[in-house]
Symmetry: C2
Subunit: 132 residues, 2 copies
């Protein structure tokens, strides 16, 4: 027996509103091969999986990734046509490389946070010294 609960679907406009992007952007990601929603006639219909992929892309953008990089990442998550040992090994290498990049970004964030702390200190100091 299959589940009776119909899975939720979204229109392009609904997703755009929810994620605060334009429909143009969503269609562009599809053109770039990052999404491939179902079609009901001409109209695009997005599944929960499509929505997840879209959110992953937006998360990548917040981290400064290019669409190409996000596509790469998402492909690592989904175990699709990766069957032979050489391919799996290549994926492991890619994962390791990404990990190194993320570690670098983490260090960069921490350094920036610390400098913001110091800047705030100096700022508050200047304000307190400003009171005659």
């Amino acid at each position: 027996m299959t589940k009776a609960t119909n899975k939720p679907r979204w229109s392009i406009g609904e997703l755009a509103r929810e994620l605060d992007i334009t429909t143009r952007t969503i269609r562009y990601y599809e053109d770039m091969g990052l999404l491939s929603p179902e079609r009901k006639g001409q109209t695009r219909i997005y599944s929960p999986a499509d929505r997840v992929r879209l959110k992953l892309i937006l998360r990548g953008k917040r981290l400064g990734f290019s669409l190409e990089e996000s596509r790469d990442l998402i492909e690592m998550y989904s175990p699709d046509g990766t069957n032979n040992r050489a391919q799996l090994s290549a994926v492991l290498d890619k994962i390791e490389a990404r990990r190194a990049q993320l570690a670098q970004q983490l260090r960069d964030i921490q350094a920036t946070q610390q400098e913001l702390d110091e800047a705030e200190q100096r700022c508050r100091q200047a304000m307190s010294e400003l009171e005659s």
Copy 2:
């Protein structure tokens, strides 16, 4: 008495080689108002402070910041023409906003790291199952 030790200086080529960027890039940052090195005649001469600013820009790039954003950040670090209370208060607001963004990026990194962990698990699992 002033320090007798002459402070180190760099040519544009030296900095480019050290930081693995092109001289074009460094000049572009100057055009955008992110750097303003001394000149000896026509030739640019970079101080340790210039070098720090350049490194800050590159760190910003690794975090996906635009040059505009990096310029903003660097201005927060250097307490230049910020004298009156309104300006200082505005800087504090900017600092807070940056902090929020960095916190979001940190969450994004952690989520990505975790998904990489899971992807690696599945990958290794697939490899072990591949041994007949």
